[in-house]
């Protein structure tokens, strides 16, 4: 009889829905049905048991084709690339578990690498703003149970986080929000009339790239000062109306996305949003939250902050000190400036996400992709190492967008012989240590202590 597994976590977006019901075939080899997930989450589960999974590492051959090799050979190749490079870059981690991230950090520290995650091209600027200005945030549960005003600023959850609005922000009935969406005011601030803007009570169509100016107007108006007749394409009356709604809220949350952290000014847009949140707390309770993208992109921030004190863009080349300064140690900058000489892409697709110029620079050096699937990065790599899919075939800890850790589990076994990210990095670490030991053994023996020997 097929087995129904309840309360399964979804390995797609930062909402981390943990109410999925997955039906697995008798022999435990095929996923038959996935309930409660959005279309994208559904596809991730079904994809796991579809045709064409890669089951062995593939090494690029002189004629340009891939040849299957063993995991041992792949581990040896990866360890040697890391060992020989002066400044290797290990980037990705949006879609793996915290155990894999910790193991990768061990490898990076041993190899003297730069360790970076997808936040580098995503919510990394939010970290910079949080460093500068704090983070008056809450959990998604608090928003669900308390919030009566919701602001989506530069975010489009209708497409990027399909169940965010129904689980936490707009529609659910919570402890103090029994009337659901009827008792909530929804404000969407976006230059485009997105599908999220469709469900809003108020949509402010801000001029693209002028969010900072609009925040400044909000803050100036909140303090009772005059503002110009129009700011960032929004009329003064409209700004004053929204400020009034925000001040009169019982509990509000600003959810912001790439519209803030990847338009001109980046961290400063988030920074001033945090300042506005703090200002509003003079009147009522307001919170702010980053709409983190992947299901465990909050993970590396949590894991590496605990290990090294910094969430991303970690330069571990000096081994005993961690240095972090996005603009210098961020992946795309390192690539564009030709500052690294080896690249490991893990649990993401730098081939698809990086600017083409950055990819061209990185391609001058060895490129290894660690990913369960065929993606753009795997197709331009020198070595592609397949691993099990976290949340489907591999269990582990993931962090939801509100920094709540959730234990994910597996519903089926990975294809025979395929290992997890954690095991792979542990094996690379072991091989690296062996290489170091071999090199040390080759070197001159320790100098004899100076001074004359006493006569016997």
């Amino acid at each position: 009889m097929p087995k129904r597994i309840e309360n399964v976590g979804c390995p797609y977006c930062g909402v981390c829905c943990d109410d999925l019901v997955v039906t697995v075939s008798d022999d435990g080899k095929k996923i038959l049905e996935v309930e409660n997930a959005c279309a994208i989450g559904n596809q991730i589960f079904h994809h796991a048991t579809s045709e064409g999974r890669i089951k062995l590492p593939r090494l690029r051959q002189p004629d340009g084709t891939y040849k299957d090799i063993s995991y041992d050979e792949a581990v040896d190749y990866a360890a040697k690339v890391l060992y020989n490079a002066k400044k290797p870059l290990i980037y990705g981690f949006g879609s793996t578990n915290c155990e894999g991230m910790a193991a990768a950090a061990k490898v990076a520290e041993r190899a003297g690498a730069v360790l970076d995650n997808c936040a580098s091209i995503c919510h990394g600027s939010s970290f910079l703003a949080i460093f500068d200005n704090g983070y008056p945030s809450c959990t998604l549960g608090e928003t669900k149970n308390r919030a009566d005003v919701i602001v989506y600023w530069g975010a489009n959850p209708a497409h990027a986080h399909p169940r965010h609005m129904s689980r936490y922000s707009i529609f659910p009935r919570g402890f103090f929000t029994g009337k659901g969406h009827k008792s909530r005011k929804i404000i969407v601030i976006d230059p485009r009339h997105t599908d999220t803007a469709q469900v809003a009570d108020i949509h402010l169509q801000v001029k693209q790239g002028y969010d900072y100016d609009l925040f400044d107007a909000f803050r100036t108006a909140a303090r009772g000062h005059e503002i110009p007749a129009e700011v960032a394409g929004i009329k003064r009356e409209k700004i004053l109306e929204v400020v009034e709604i925000m001040k009169k809220a019982r509990f509000g949350t600003i959810f912001y996305g790439m519209g803030l952290c990847h338009s001109d000014g980046r961290n400063h847009n988030v920074d001033i949003a945090i300042s506005l949140t703090r200002d509003l707390n003079d009147y009522t309770k307001w919170t702010i939250m980053a709409m983190r993208g992947h299901y465990n992109i909050t993970g590396p921030g949590a894991v590496w902050s605990w290990q090294y004190g910094f969430p991303y863009c970690l330069d571990l080349t000096k081994k005993d000190i961690a240095h972090m300064n996005p603009g210098e140690t961020s992946s795309v900058d390192l690539a564009m400036r030709d500052e690294v000489d080896a690249f490991i892409n893990i649990g993401t697709d730098a081939g698809a996400h990086f600017p083409i110029e950055a990819v061209k620079h990185l391609k001058k050096h060895p490129w290894i992709t660690i990913d369960p699937n065929i993606c753009m990065a795997s197709e331009i790599s020198d070595l592609h190492i397949p691993v099990g899919i976290v949340g489907v075939e591999v269990p582990g800890i993931v962090y939801r967008m509100d920094n709540v850790p959730i234990q994910y589990r597996k519903v089926i076994d990975p294809p025979e012989g395929v290992i997890s990210d954690e095991e792979l990095f542990e094996r690379i670490h072991k091989r690296l240590s062996e290489l170091e030991a071999e090199e040390t053994a080759k070197g001159p023996a320790k100098a004899a202590p100076e001074g004359a020997r006493a006569e016997e």
């Binding site: 490079a85 002066k86 400044k87 190899a111 003297g112 910079l128 460093f131 500068d132 002028y210 900072y212 100016d213 925040f215 400044d216 107007a217 909000f218 803050r219 100036t220 909140a222 303090r223 000062h225 005059e226 503002i227 110009p228 700011v231 001109d264 000014g265 400063h268 920074d271 001033i272 300042s275 200002d279 080349t317 000096k318 081994k319 972090m324 300064n325 996005p326 603009g327 210098e328 400036r337 030709d338 500052e339 690294v340 000489d341």
Partner: protein
């Protein structure tokens, strides 16, 4: 004053981190000892002499030591970082962190510099004849006490994020500045002799900004109060005087609220 001349004869494949290239580290050392100082290229630690030829010995103290860098130092970072005295002359371009956390002395760059130059500066003088990239005289990431003192002069243009969290000192930009000048500023002076693109003085609490040209997108939080005549960088001119950022918190002094001042040339 004794002069040490470093000539980059064997350029690196990646970037060189030259935090040891300061008068403080060169003082009291012979040329051969200077050539043995550490520099980093990625995870590889090498002696300075691997990349540079070193001529001349250091002075007895940092004050008596002058360093001249020749050759293309476009890929050399952190020259003059944390220096407290003496002088550095870079004949061409240099990379990031030039004069970062500098406490005293003088650095003169005859070409361009990249980002993060003069960050966390406490004193001394950094002069750039060309352009500077981003985060000039800014605070290091997460540090809310930015530039404390000293003077930065850039003859050309500056990138974005100039003087973030500035607390003291002066920055003079001869050309144009990109977005974000003195964001979160709590003191100090920034003078832009060309145009500024926008977000001038956002979230600013205290301090002064002068813009001689135009501001493409002025912030709504700044309000004009009067016209004043002032002497700035040795010349007197009339300015429109704005106060702000009215959206930000402001301290009171002697019963009066203290605002940041923005002056635009009339």
């Amino acid at each position: 004053m004794k002069t040490v001349t470093l000539t980059l004869t064997n350029p690196s494949e990646l970037f060189i981190e030259g935090q040891n290239i300061t008068p403080d580290n060169f003082a009291g050392r012979k040329a051969a000892e200077i050539a043995a100082l550490d520099v980093w290229e990625g995870k590889q630690k090498s002696p300075l002499g691997k990349y540079f030829t070193v001529e001349g010995d250091g002075g007895a103290t940092a004050e008596e030591t002058k360093i001249v860098l020749r050759g293309d130092c476009t890929r050399v970072k952190r020259i003059g970082q944390q220096m407290t005295a003496g002088e550095i002359v870079i004949e061409g371009n240099a990379d990031m962190y030039i004069g970062g956390w500098m406490k005293g002395g003088k650095i003169h760059v005859k070409g361009n510099v990249d980002s993060f130059c003069g960050i966390g500066m406490e004193g001394g003088e950094l002069v750039v004849d060309g352009n500077a990239a981003h985060h000039l005289g800014s605070s290091p990431r997460g540090e809310w006490r930015g530039m404390q003192g000293g003077v930065i002069r850039v003859a050309g243009n500056a990138g974005n994020d100039t003087a973030t969290f500035i607390n003291g000192g002066t920055i003079v930009i001869g050309g144009d500045a990109d977005i974000h000048i003195s964001t979160h500023g709590e003191g100090g002076t920034v003078i832009v002799k060309g145009n500024a693109k926008g977000r001038v003085g956002g979230q600013m609490v205290k301090g002064d900004i002068y813009v001689y040209g135009t501001i493409e997108n002025p912030l709504p939080g700044f309000s004009m109060v009067d016209e004043v005549e002032q002497e700035v960088d040795g010349e007197t001119a009339r300015f429109a005087h704005y106060i702000g950022d009215l959206g930000e918190r402001h301290p009171t002094s002697k019963g009066k609220t203290v605002y940041a001042n923005l002056y635009t040339k009339l």
